[in-house]
């Protein structure tokens, strides 16, 4: 009985220490900043312009946007992305045309202009900034 108690206490003590060590090793995304402190101001980042576009990371990824879109507007009346990426203008503007799937409505019928369910480009297509990833990422997509 005595032996059990000693073992139990010893185990508790060991867990206390190792647990503390493990807890200390955890590094949050706050980077050791105290909870009470004001968060650090993020550095200013510009939207990237990459000539020739950015390659997909995996097969069916919606291509990311290799230019800034801060002057573009998508609303009920207008979608300025389509000034270049539409079926009528892409050749002249040397821009990639919105994919064929973007011209199908939910019944599978081909539409003349971009289908309403694909109208909001930046729901899937995102502009990029030169930000470091918050955590290291070794993801490799199937090409």
């Amino acid at each position: 009985m005595k032996k059990t108690i000693v073992t139990f206490v010893a185990a508790c003590v060991i867990m206390l220490f190792t647990g503390g060590v493990i807890a200390g090793a955890v590094d949050s995304l706050r980077l050791g900043q105290d909870l009470q402190e004001d968060s650090k101001k993020p550095t200013k980042k510009k939207q990237l312009v990459v000539e020739g576009g950015i390659e997909r990371s995996y097969k069916i990824q919606p291509p990311v946007i290799p230019h800034s879109i801060d002057k573009d507007k998508i609303n009920l009346k207008a979608n300025t992305c389509m000034n270049c990426h539409s079926e009528k203008t892409y050749k002249q503007k040397k821009a990639p045309k919105a994919g064929d799937t973007h011209y199908l409505d939910r019944d599978g019928k081909t539409t003349k202009t971009v289908a309403s369910r694909r109208y909001f480009c930046n729901q899937c297509h995102a502009p990029q900034v030169n930000a470091e990833p918050l955590v290291e990422n070794t993801f490799k997509g199937a090409k």
Binding site: H67, K71, K77, A78, S86, E87, K88, A95, K112, T113
Partner: protein, 192 residues
């Protein structure tokens, strides 16, 4: 010439000069006063829609802190064209005070296509004169532009396109039903 006649001529001259200064000065003063953004947006039609939209764009706030106000783009600088535009503006006053044609955002929206087309047509006719008060091919460094922009500007010079041919809807929202091909001079492919 008698003494009295001399005095009379002198008097007329003085009155003429004073009157001239007051009238011409007053005219120019009024012209300058009605050529300010403050004056334009004193009508709610202008403040509620076109001005509110301008506030979101690069012509309102940008890296270098240069701002284009309403008259910079919408009132010609050459005197004769300015006067013509001012006379045309009486039509706008008529609609503001008498018909109230666009006195709600809904009415404005309904007429937006027509209004936009008027401005596009005017700018096309003047070879985008008001744009060129600030923007000039000669002062553009094509190396600092995105390659796509530089290529298009090269083509534009070559083919005599004008700014508004491609740059519609940069300061105010595009009207509903805008066809992207309208911002693409030359042969737009129609596959739809």
């Amino acid at each position: 010439m008698t003494r009295g006649e001399k005095k009379g001529t002198f008097g007329v001259l003085v009155i003429g000069i004073v009157l001239g200064i007051v009238l011409w000065g007053g005219f120019n003063w009024t012209l300058a006063l009605t050529n300010t953004e403050q004056f334009c947006i004193s009508c709610h039609e202008m403040e509620a829609t076109p001005y509110a939209e301008l506030e979101e764009t690069v012509h309102f706030s940008n890296r270098t802190g240069v701002r284009a106000t309403c008259p910079d783009c919408h009132v010609p600088r050459p005197w004769i064209h300015k006067i013509i535009r001012k006379i045309q503006a009486s039509n706008e006053l008529y609609h503001h005070f008498i018909t109230g044609e666009v006195d709600t955002p809904e009415k404005f929206e309904a007429k937006r296509m027509k209004l936009a087309q008027n401005v596009w047509k005017a700018m096309k006719n003047t070879d985008s004169r008001e744009c060129r008060n600030c923007h000039n091919y000669d002062s553009m460094d094509f190396d600092k532009q995105e390659s796509r922009s530089a290529d298009m500007h090269d083509e534009a010079i070559e083919k005599n396109w004008t700014c508004i041919d491609c740059h519609k809807g940069i300061a105010h929202s595009l009207p509903e039903g805008f066809d992207p091909a309208w911002n693409t001079p030359g042969e737009a492919e129609d596959e739809g």
